[in-house]
Symmetry: C2
Subunit: 234 residues, 2 copies
């Protein structure tokens, strides 16, 4: 299998760095091919505008989706975006590795989503959710948090982590068709000590070795919605 890891941490010696190195080694040992986009190392530019394109559809008014649809027809994406799109086409599985910042992905990774997941090439015209372009591929978030797990539970101060991650798991990954696995979360990594950090690495290794057998998160199917995109069932 081909696994694409998008990695977003400024410090190579960070625990996020350790997780991505472990993932690459574990998956390659198991016979898979791995490519890593280390966004900070690549100096990936997260700002989305005309820089996404080598072509221009409307020079007087910038509407990103219009430019994306045009670029999709005429191969008009900027080289940094095209390279990421090709990795997405190549992969059977996508892993996003990041520290949870402000209950979401760091801006450098949000910009990767904003710029790379382009209308036309990656979604649109009925290609979304379980009919998405990446249907049949798998994706998983691997993240670290500042606070401990109970703080991210239903009654915890920060709110339920699954609700918090919904905008990423469902809104970004499922939106473009991925089957989304439960996230792999290393809680409170700065505070737990080396023994727990080793346990997190071992837990991640086990998740990676059973990656293809895990049951994805269950979302309703497009067929469960009516023509106004409202859920039919109660």
């Amino acid at each position: 299998m081909n696994v694409f890891i998008v990695h977003a941490h400024a410090e190579p010696k960070s625990f996020n760095g350790a997780l991505t190195r472990l993932a690459q080694a574990t998956l390659e040992e198991a016979g898979h091919d791995v490519r890593v986009s280390d966004l900070y190392a690549m100096k990936f530019d997260p700002v989305s505008d005309r820089r996404n394109f080598t072509t221009t559809k409307d020079a007087a008014y910038f509407k990103q989706q219009v430019e994306e649809q045009h670029a999709s027809k005429v191969s008009g994406f900027a080289p940094d975006i095209e390279a990421e799109m090709e990795k997405l086409d190549w992969c059977d599985a996508l892993i996003m590795q990041f520290p949870l910042w402000w209950f979401s992905i760091p801006a450098i990774l949000k910009g990767w989503v904003d710029r790379v997941l382009a209308m036309g090439r990656i979604y649109g015209l009925g290609k979304w959710y379980d009919n998405g372009v990446f249907k049949g591929k798998r994706a998983m978030l691997s993240l670290t948090t500042g606070g401990p797990e109970p703080m991210y539970s239903e009654k915890g101060l920060n709110g339920n982590i699954h609700d918090i991650l919904f905008h990423i798991n469902h809104g970004m990954l499922r939106f473009v068709g991925f089957d989304v696995l439960e996230p792999c979360i290393a809680w409170s990594v700065a505070h737990v000590g080396d023994e727990q950090r080793r346990a997190y690495l071992e837990a991640y290794r086990r998740r990676l070795l059973t990656f293809w057998e895990q049951e994805p998160i269950r979302y309703p199917s497009l067929e469960d919605y009516d023509e106004n995109f409202m859920l039919r069932k109660p």
Copy 2:
């Protein structure tokens, strides 16, 4: 009152641009002072790393919160970050104006949050949520969407908008102490036609004129949580 608008859209002629121009004019006419950070026009850099600082606490290992705490003590924030912090100190109210991209804020605005809301100066040591640094100030999201309102309801394909915005309203704005107002949302702006767009502008104008009287979103208080940050009440 002093109102700080952080604006994130690449196209000045966009509906987001119209909303921010309307907000500035409406608030100034009502006697308020308004400052706008137009992130695209400023070429605001959303990548968070050592560029946030003029000082260095640990040159061998970059941990952002350690550098932030150090910079807070020695006035070590980079000029672009310091300028935004001063606007936050100055304001009585913060408005974020943006198109909903991938069920969150555009990367250029996420980077503003990642870089400007620094530990030490803006949060930490018990300064968070209703005990946050910006306690007593108000904040509101003003956003545009691609899809129509029903798609963002509980049974809609995209999920409930209030759940989607929780990571911003609660995780970013409330986290640093703001009283957060209900968001002002212009649904499906690209598709609704000029009459509805005029109605959106008028609705926003009314929201702005009653900004100081509106009831903020109710979140539990820190006092409702036990020493492990778990909600005491059922």
